[in-house]
Amino acid sequence: MSTQPGLTFTKPGFLSLLQDGGRQGVMHLGLATGGAMDRNAWAWANRLLDNPFGTPALEITFGGVEFTSHLATQIAITGAEVQCRVNGESRPLWSVINIQAGDRIALSAPKVGIRNYLAVLGGFQVAPGLGNSCATFTREGLGGLNQDGRPLQEGDHLPCHADSARVLNRKVSERWRPDYKEELVLSVIPCAQIDRFPASVLDTFFNNPYTLTRQTDRMGARLKGPALEPLGERLISEGTSLGAIQVPADGQPIVLLNDRQTIGGYPKLGAVTPRSLDALAQRTPGTTLRFRPVTLHEAQIEERQFLSFFTATGSQR
């Protein structure tokens, strides 16, 4: 055990990664933004504890995590539906949880959703790396606890502030909690090369269900459904946007996510909105989804609402 107060993980889970709002100003180096896959759940975990927007939290994929706290503090767990137990006693998600030194906290495997966010009062004390971020990037060996891209390991100790001001015991109102069982309709800004695709392709894309496949990770969501006739040519490689919908040669769309490659040459039908990506990040392979077009204006209003809510007063220090 480290002399610095913090949380020691006896079970690291399947894939647990320190994530924050992502890197900025590094895409020209070939480095993707990264950051929390479900920004909404991540932002709520920090908001409950008055941590500023952007504070690192632990992104736990598929649950199965156990840890011991070495300090009295407060934590919040949001996201997938898991059983959270403190010394064997059930505790609610989407709520502030008071923790004493020596408490053992266990998260089960999720029943609904796949990702949880564990935030601690004052935030985990991890030095930011490139792009002013600690976002863990396993493929490239960057970010995370030791800035080597490793997911959390058994015995890892996440340092915390011992003397942060306590917050009230509050919870996220039911009406703000997302329903990860809800039928998923992804909002798409029709843009990029969409004008080059014939109307029949757009008709197929917007009017048919697609299934999320197992070949989905933090880099991209690979979908399977009625094939979209690809454009004959590859593009000259260009920078990629979050949520961009690529149509590769086999006609099965790929949605580019946080850890995507920064440039690519597949024609794109548009971009899934960030709020829809939050919902997508909680779906298991096999989930059926649909697409619907939204205007850039609508998408930007939604995004501004999200950002202004979570960056507003009460979460600044």
């Binding site: 020209h28 960057l142 843009c191 000259i236 260009e238 979050l242 961009a244 995004e303």
Partner: protein, 229 residues
């Protein structure tokens, strides 16, 4: 300078400057990127210059597209068609151990070109390459163009693991894998240099717009410079 833009996401636009790969065009994009960075500063969160395009990411909370495009228009209006490239004259020399032990496709590239191994090395290292873009992976520099006879299509089945520093050819492009990764390029050698180091002030050894030359080295020098076999 003529350009048009396309919306590519909720907080990104992509500026298009032309339709064909051409060093002069890419250099113009480099100058545009520097001018925009200078004039618009922190309003641009990220920019990705590539062969014919420049992707810009802006702060959707504090900016709106119309005023951003107006300011981009102003910033680029005064940019000359031709100009001095800050990176020009700056030729980065990269030592490479060209050998089947470090480049398992070296002999296949030679056979396809009807050349000897030595001729492939000579031709590949005689060329001065231009860094068209950095992307795909951290520090991955797309260099062009290789002599026509060395152009080789990507492997039908990509390798699961290509060691860091390995030099490859795909069609008329050549590049070094900065980190171990899967890869479908034809591998012809390896450099002992570190292409991407997050701890360095400038993490990426190569920058878009620079020029690069490869210097063939032998096994002893490769190992002495810290190369791994």
């Amino acid at each position: 300078m003529f350009w048009r833009y396309e919306v590519t996401g909720v907080d990104t636009i992509t500026l298009h400057f032309g339709d064909a790969i051409d060093i002069a065009l890419t250099e113009r994009i480099q100058r545009a990127a520097r001018a925009l960075s200078h004039r618009l500063g922190p309003r641009l969160i990220d920019m990705v210059p590539s062969y014919t395009t420049l992707l810009l990411r802006y702060n959707v909370l504090e900016d709106d597209l119309a005023s951003l495009v107006a300011d981009i228009t102003n910033a680029l209006a005064t940019l000359p068609e031709v100009g001095t490239n800050a990176a020009k004259g700056d030729v980065v020399e990269i030592p490479v151990y060209y050998d089947p032990s470090t480049g398992p496709d070296l002999d296949a590239v030679a056979a396809k070109a009807g050349l000897s191994r030595e001729q492939v090395i000579q031709k590949h290292s005689a060329e001065e390459y231009y860094v068209f873009a950095i992307g795909f992976a951290p520090g991955f520099a797309y260099l062009g163009e290789v002599p026509a006879e060395l152009a080789t299509p990507r492997l039908a089945t990509p390798r699961a693991r290509v060691p860091a520093g390995t030099l490859g050819i795909a069609d008329t492009q050549t590049a070094i894998y900065p980190l171990q990764s899967p890869g479908g390029w034809n591998l012809i050698g390896r450099t002992p240099l570190t292409l991407f180091d997050p701890g360095r002030g400038q993490p990426s050894l190569l920058q878009a717009g620079q020029r690069v030359r490869f210097r063939p080295i032998g096994r002893e020098e490769y190992l002495a410079l810290g190369g791994q076999l």
